[in-house]
């Protein structure tokens, strides 16, 4: 919020040592200026601040209307439309890329004409045009080269609910009021957001009470205790396979993440374009859930713990790259400057300046992710086989809950043991 609140006349204040300043002529404020609502002057002597009516009244009105519309107490009906949205994804992507690139590069160039000759600018420009051309070539044949065809986007809107439209307009009005300083609008938007979240299908008091009163729940818990300890001998091997999967996945992750993280850290990357490309790639892979990656590998290679390990490994590479690069970026630059003064080149500065400082964080991230991988490989084994998740799935399907409790106890003990081991290793290394 900007601090400049111009008033028409400056109030004459007098402070008598220790008293509150008395404003002799309270300024007549202008409520509207340049088409925007003026931000309120905070009145700090009142406990909750004073109510600023130009913002409060519209906010309350909009909130009331929004509640009525959201809960369908006012029913405005719907209009039958026959709108079809159709566009070629290739062309759209190319246009968006060019637009985004232009928005990023052109204002800088207009401000500083010398930038035209900068190597980075020309390189970014060329890369942008090439990528846009690649996407375009998917739609229109540009010469012999044909890029990836991304198809056509279609969306058919058959009926438009006026309630929804009214709600969106009211929300936009509330957001504008909130940005102008209305606390009521902000609070109401937050409440509306939570309300919408909780209006999920089937959520209600009855579902909460059914946790405690459901007939299936009670009998399930009854059969889980006492656990069938004779099953324990069948649990050990799958547990070991799960741990092995986790080790393989983590090592793949570390080996892949180390070079990538050097490229993805702002202070060690050879060029900003490489930095952006690596970051983009890693973020894309990271947004795919690890289970989905494991499933993809299972489809390619087959069942068993190994494809699960590969899938988890790929996910681990992406997460560890982000963690490692943040560790590398957080390093103190002064010792690096000292090494530069000694005459060390980039590689030596990294090995003796950056790496020793980042090492504790690298180790703790890796060990944390090894624990996380152990738990994830349980879930992966659920769908892929060869691990404790597999027998867990079996026993759940066969309703053998006494065995399930043995498996769960083993899992909890293993994770606790791993926790102790990792704490110990970390304390020795840092």
């Amino acid at each position: 919020m900007s601090e400049n609140v111009p008033v028409e006349e400056t109030p004459a204040t007098e402070v008598k040592g220790g008293e509150m300043p008395v404003v002799k002529n309270p300024p007549r404020r202008k409520y509207f200026e340049n088409g925007r609502i003026r931000k309120p002057i905070p009145d700090m002597s009142r406990p909750l601040g004073s109510l600023y009516w130009p913002l409060a009244i519209p906010a309350l009105l909009c909130s009331l209307l929004a509640v009525l519309v959201f809960t369908h107490l006012i029913e405005l009906g719907s209009v039958a439309t026959n709108w079809n949205l159709l566009f070629n994804v290739n062309v759209a992507t190319a246009l968006i890329l060019l637009l985004a690139g232009a928005l990023a590069i052109v204002p800088k160039l207009l401000k500083n004409p010398l930038e035209w000759r900068n190597r980075n600018t020309i390189l970014s420009f060329v890369v942008l045009v090439l990528v846009a051309l690649y996407f375009l070539s998917g739609a229109l044949p540009l010469g012999p080269f044909k890029g990836l065809d991304l198809g056509t986007f279609t969306y058919a809107l058959t009926s438009l609910s006026i309630n929804l439209l009214a709600l969106m307009l009211l929300v936009i009005a509330l957001v504008w009021l909130a940005f102008n300083g209305s606390f009521i609008s902000g609070l109401f938007l937050f409440i509306l957001f939570l309300w919408w979240g909780f209006s999920i299908e089937g959520f209600g008091w009855s579902t909460i009470t059914s946790i405690f009163t459901s007939p299936t729940g009670g009998s399930l818990l009854a059969t889980m205790i006492p656990p069938d300890w004779s099953y324990f001998s069948r649990v050990i091997d799958p547990m070991l396979i799960t741990i092995q999967t986790a080790i393989v996945a983590t090592v793949i992750g570390i080996v892949g993440a180390l070079p990538l993280s050097i490229l993805a850290a702002r202070n060690t990357t050879p060029h900003p374009i490489i930095y952006n490309i690596v970051r983009l790639l890693v973020n894309t892979i990271r947004s795919i859930p690890s289970l989905v990656l494991a499933l993809i590998f299972i489809t390619i290679i087959g069942l068993g713990p190994v494809p699960g390990a590969f899938g988890l490994g790929l996910h681990t590479i992406s997460v560890l790259t982000k963690l490692y690069s943040e560790a590398i970026e957080s390093v103190n630059t002064h010792p690096i400057e000292a090494l530069s003064a000694v005459g060390a080149n980039g590689l030596k500065r990294f090995r003796w300046g950056v790496f020793p400082q980042a090492f504790p964080l690298l180790v703790s991230s890796s060990i944390y992710y090894w624990e996380s991988n152990t738990r994830d490989s349980t879930v992966v084994a659920f769908v892929g086989g060869g691990g404790i998740g597999f027998i867990l799935n079996q026993n759940l399907s066969l309703l053998e809950y006494a065995h399930v409790s043995v498996i769960l106890v083993t899992l909890v003990l293993t994770v606790a043991l791993l926790d102790r081991v990792s704490d110990f290793v970390r304390s020795r290394v840092i």
Partner: protein, 267 residues
């Protein structure tokens, strides 16, 4: 320029892109074996001057000749080779905290080993012996296996001096080496620095902001104010009016410390 001139700075200027003139037309010479102190206020350009001599900051105009080689005309790789012969001591010590004292001093030898040896941390016998000898020279051998951030301020600065000496330099640059130390300790460290420089025949250029320390230890004093040299000569010939000029603040009404003798301050 005769053979005993180690460093020749001529018309050095540094102007930052926002127009701030950190150094204007600085010229001086440094002979072999001299111990020179640069005095001036904070922000006068002392750190900038040292870093320009070292090549850590690019020079806008002028030349810096170290043993005949103009550092402004070198490529980055050649600058690294030249920096091996120039030792730099920082105000905040700039040691690598997690490494031991011995490893920190060994990093001073990084300019003399190749990339592969640096990656595996293989420093040959002569490098290790040189590092131990430098540690002994600053009396820090008993702390050789301690982690660098377990030391006190004075010990860290001694290790930094050992690291600079391990480079076998011909020139030592020290950017306010004793500013973070208490007065007794700062004289002790300055004494060590001067003793070592004279023993090894290494010239030294030291930034000091305390005039008494500079007068006591220096063969020659250079006074800098607002990026210009105001005085270059023996410390005895430094008059009070010159000192007032060097340490004059931007506020003309403020009383300079060097105007009055030691009287208690006004309320």
């Amino acid at each position: 320029m005769n053979n005993s001139t180690l460093l020749e700075v001529k018309d050095l200027s540094k102007v930052y892109p926002n127009g701030y003139e950190a150094l204007s037309d600085v010229s001086f010479e440094l002979q072999k074996g001299e111990f020179v102190c640069i005095i001036g206020r904070s922000g006068a350009g002392k750190s900038t001057l040292l870093r320009c001599i070292n090549g850590l900051i690019a020079v806008s105009h002028g030349s810096v000749r170290v043993q005949g080689t103009d550092i402004t005309s070198l490529t980055d790789e050649e600058k690294l080779l030249l920096r091996r012969t120039i030792g730099f001591i920082f105000q905040e010590f700039n040691l690598v905290g997690r490494l031991t004292v011995l490893q920190n001093v060994l990093t001073g030898r990084l300019g003399y080993i190749n990339n592969l040896q640096a990656i595996f941390g293989y420093f040959g016998r002569e490098h290790r012996e040189k590092a131990l000898e430098c540690l002994a020279r600053v009396n820090m051998l008993q702390r050789a296996t301690y982690r660098a951030d377990d030391l006190s301020g004075g010990e860290k600065q001694r290790v930094a001096i050992a690291r600079a000496l391990a480079q076998e330099p011909s020139l030592l640059l020290a950017d306010e080496p004793v500013a973070s130390l208490d007065p007794e300790l700062s004289w002790s460290v300055m004494g060590d620095l001067r003793k070592v420089a004279k023993e090894l025949g290494v010239s030294a250029l030291v930034n000091i902001h305390d005039i008494d320390t500079a007068k006591h230890f220096a063969d020659r004093v250079i006074g800098i104010a607002k990026g210009r040299i105001l005085y270059d000569g023996r410390p005895e010939l430094l008059t009070d009016s010159l000192l007032q000029e060097i340490y004059r603040s931007d506020n003309p009404a403020a009383m300079s410390r060097y105007e009055k003798t030691s009287e208690p301050a006004e309320i």
